[in-house]
């Protein structure tokens, strides 16, 4: 345990952690990579919003509308600060990481990608950072080129070097793999990409919740992430982009609030970030997101990532002691709090199901990373993932559960 995280108090902040799956069987939630649990402060912030200040934002003169606008925009300011954005104008609210990436593929992509252009992704991407680029490439007759993954679960950087010679227009990669836990060297990759004038889009769905991320040193041009994976509500995510880029991009969705002026023959777009926020946004969710940011800031992102480093090291040690268990991805020092594994002779679905009867929630499947699973010749893995509220005792319960699984299938 790190000094800075007081786990016993901290766990009490998350109401769901008191849940029993069956009478006497407490929940062990090891699925934060899919979505995190929410502290009471986040739930309460949305509650209060609905009970006191709910109104549509912008343009409203009445008290509730002004309160709602201030809450909505105030959250944006805190998010900007959290990732050290130069300005809150660089923070575009979306539904989730997936929509953020699609926004870039539609708006920047349709305006900038031409037939024959090269778009780079990696073999360890989540489908959300693959399919939008496949759609774009198919539409524009562009080429999708893939950085392969090594047996150790890292990016093959020498192959990346030769891909750069193709003169790609954009390099899209995840900051942290949601299966292998690999933390990619974004700054190093971005420097090389920028040297050939390619843009860099970083899928921060797993990094922004778990690591300190500073957009002014990351090297990315775009960064996408989701509130629901970082103590915040569902229904809201962020696209951060460098202001010059966002300003030059055509609008994505058309409608209320993204325009300055509409006539029957034309419209003029609004300033950033509103240009990309058409229609009534996820207002309560922004309020909840702001509360989640406050929560993570007060926990301290350094402490959060330190805690996860300790717990993944412990988990890898303990998992590897179980005969037949194989964990994928790099060693603990080089990855975040994700352990995707297989157990000889037992399908991951069966593992997850039996663990569930013991209250232990892990995920089983391809985790929306089919190409990566194919790379390792696996139809599926079981995945335990950790966040600030998980404990070593929970890792022990997971390992005990795996021994029971083995016994059952022996």
């Amino acid at each position: 345990m790190t000094d800075s995280l007081d786990l016993s108090n901290l766990r009490a902040d998350f109401p769901v952690l008191a849940r029993e799956i069956k009478p006497g069987v407490p929940l062990v939630y090891l699925d934060s990579t899919a979505t995190s649990q929410k502290p009471a402060a986040v739930i309460e912030a949305m509650n209060n919003y609905y009970r006191l200040s709910n109104a549509n934002i912008h343009r409203g003169v009445h008290t509730l509308a002004e309160e709602a606008t201030a809450l909505y925009e105030g959250a944006r300011e805190r998010i900007a600060k959290f990732i050290n954005a130069k300005s809150a104008q660089e923070i575009v609210y979306t539904r989730n990481t997936t929509e953020s990436i699609n926004l870039v593929a539609y708006s920047w992509g349709r305006a900038n990608i031409k037939a024959g252009d090269v778009i780079v992704i990696t073999e360890m991407e989540h489908h959300s950072n693959i399919v939008p680029w496949q759609m774009l490439a198919a539409e524009k007759n562009a080429r999708l080129v893939v950085i392969p993954v090594t047996d150790d679960g890292e990016l093959n950087l020498s192959r990346f070097e030769s891909i750069l010679e193709m003169g790609p227009k954009i390099v899209c990669l995840t900051h942290m793999s949601n299966v292998l836990g690999t933390i990619n060297p974004v700054a190093q990759i971005a420097e090389k990409a920028h040297a050939v004038r390619a843009l860099v889009l970083v899928d921060g769905a797993q990094s922004v919740p778990h690591l300190p991320v500073d957009t002014q040193s990351l090297g990315a041009d775009f960064l996408a992430f989701s509130a629901h994976k970082m103590c915040g509500p569902t229904g809201i995510g962020v696209l951060w982009g460098r202001k010059e880029l966002l300003e030059a991009m055509p609008p994505f969705l058309g409608g209320g609030d993204m325009i300055r002026r509409v006539t029957l023959t034309e419209f003029r777009v609004n300033d950033l970030p509103h240009k990309f926020e058409a229609g009534t946004p996820a207002i309560a969710e922004a309020v909840g997101f702001g509360a989640a940011i406050d929560y993570l800031v007060s926990a301290g992102m350094g402490a959060v990532s330190g805690h996860e480093r300790e717990i993944i090291a412990y988990a890898l040690d303990r998992l590897e002691e179980v005969p037949g268990v194989k964990v994928y991805g790099p060693r603990a020092e080089r990855k975040g709090g994700v352990a995707a594994f297989t157990l000889d002779g037992v399908h991951p679905h069966d593992i997850a199901q039996i663990l569930d009867t013991r209250g232990i929630a892990v995920r089983a499947g391809h985790h929306c990373a089919m190409p990566l699973h194919e790379r390792f010749g696996l139809p599926a893995t079981a995945r335990a993932s950790f966040y600030l509220y998980n404990t070593q005792a929970e890792v022990d319960r997971l390992v005990d559960g795996l021994y029971e699984v083995k016994k059952l299938f022996a």
Binding site: P348, H366, F409
Partner: protein, 127 residues
């Protein structure tokens, strides 16, 4: 010990009945559940009255999908194609003897889906 994995399921999983392929077969069909990678093939030979004389399954996957395929190949022996078309989700769940959430239901019903596609003479595995 766990309801979810009643003896009978684990028994069918560990000792699958009618595992293998029939070549040639009167009916062969194969499909998968892309969510978990489970893949099942069922082969059937009919007698002179068009009733199931022999059935076999192959493929791999979780205990639920394998056990339900194994049980199904026993269940359909002697049945006509029309009778096979009548088999419903409830019967499979009865055979398994457990309750399943929506995700595992797909595992449990994969073999039935494959069987019915075969019985209806569908040949394209992709739909």
């Amino acid at each position: 010990m766990d309801d979810m994995y009643r003896e009978v399921i684990l028994d069918h999983y560990k000792h699958p009945r009618n595992y293998g392929k029939l070549e040639p077969a009167d009916i062969s069909y194969e499909d998968d559940n892309p969510l978990c990678g489970d893949r099942i093939r069922i082969d059937i030979r009919l007698d002179e009255n068009d009733r199931v004389k022999e059935a076999a399954f192959s493929g791999k996957g979780c205990a639920i999908s394998q056990a339900s395929a194994s049980m199904l190949t026993e269940e359909i022996l002697g049945k006509s194609l029309d009778e096979i078309k009548q088999i419903g989700k409830e019967q499979i769940l009865e055979l398994l003897g457990i309750e399943l959430g929506p995700t595992r239901l797909k595992c449990a019903l994969l073999s039935l889906k494959v069987l019915k596609a075969g019985a209806y003479g569908i040949t394209d595995a992709d739909n």
